[in-house]
Symmetry: C2
Subunit: 218 residues, 2 copies
């Protein structure tokens, strides 16, 4: 039995106590992957941003709000895990200044300074042991494969799963799975549940098995 960490859902970066930057990630693909992991007889640990989706019974769920919190939880939970499915869509930008009270309208243009949040998977990827695998996800709106491959290397992932913005919040999806050389290992489409199952089978057969078998030939 393996123990798989899944990051899932969006994160939020607050401007003031009420308003925040985020994205439409629903956690549905994370929930589908957790189910595929559990159905294959493994343990699923989900670090999730705020979502309405129900994760499957039997998954351990750690709830977070911000990208920093997701990073911290993932960093704590990853060491004893065999692999990581990084399907979360962490908010990449954080207001430089947090306003402790709700901003009031002034009638004029305001300038909001944004810094980039820490890269969760790059941090995890840098601490990844030889026995551990990592599959990250990329949502790109242009130049998909090239950008995804660059991300894969920046994050030190084994594979990257590429999709487009049209799948956000939908029940169906279509993805390409790329390895470190940029080869398209698979094109998968269907409900998120079907795609999650096919993807995890592919991982078990190619990334996880050598480790489980103690061969370690990666």
């Amino acid at each position: 039995m393996a123990r798989i960490l899944i990051t899932s859902g969006p994160t939020r970066q607050y401007l003031d106590p009420v308003r925040y930057l985020t994205n439409g990630s629903s956690g549905r693909m994370g929930a589908a992957l957790a189910l595929a992991v559990l159905e294959a007889g493994h343990e699923a640990v989900v670090v999730s941003g705020p979502v309405e989706v129900d994760y499957p019974l039997g998954a351990e769920v750690v709830s977070v709000v911000t990208t920093e919190e997701m990073l911290e939880a993932a960093r704590d939970l990853f060491p004893p895990c065999d692999g990581l499915l990084g399907v979360a869509a962490p908010c990449d930008y954080c207001p430089v200044v947090f306003q402790p009270n709700k901003m009031a309208k002034t009638g004029s243009v305001q300038s909001l300074e944004l810094t980039e949040t820490p890269d969760i998977l790059a941090t995890i990827g840098a601490m990844k042991a030889d026995r551990q695998w990592m599959v990250s996800f990329a949502l790109e709106t242009e130049d998909g494969r090239a950008r995804a491959l660059k991300k894969l290397h920046r994050k030190n992932a084994d594979w990257i799963v590429l999709n487009g913005p049209e799948v956000i919040c939908e029940s169906s999806t279509q993805v390409e799975v790329l390895d470190r050389s940029g080869t398209v290992l698979a094109e998968l489409s269907g409900t998120k549940r079907e795609v999650a199952r096919s993807l995890f089978e592919l991982i078990e057969a190619n990334l996880a098995r050598p480790i489980l078998d103690g061969v370690g030939q990666r």
Copy 2:
């Protein structure tokens, strides 16, 4: 039978195809108010931003994403209505520039120019006929009553319902109802369903009845 318009939920203002500014409004209070309206034997028309909540069967629901869309829908739907419950939390700020492709990280601080979105209730309040009433909601983190009263007058509302950020996404709430003179007409607390029912009873007894009776003494 009266016809009541309810604006509900958050709106989103996109920076690029993936990222947006929003807030944690869940639509729960809007759904509770729609139920109270229906249970009192009236028609409920809900203009709602993206939420996961289920509006009651029998409510007409118009789904929108942005503040502009919510304004347009509310403006179209309000004229034949008897009253408006403005419980939505429209996003007040909109990026000056929309990036048509997903912004890529650059490693440096970015400046995001924000303009204020149109004030939905001020627009509706300005077109409100004598036979129509409007109750707006204010979420304040400081100086609550004074700010709420200022909002009431800016929006030309009859009453304003004041609450704090701690009620966002919760199933319970506590509110104060203020009239145009700043008098606290009621303090209500309980589940959102209970508060919605009490609030709508108060409206029916004080704001709506003179109109329904044809007295028009407001």
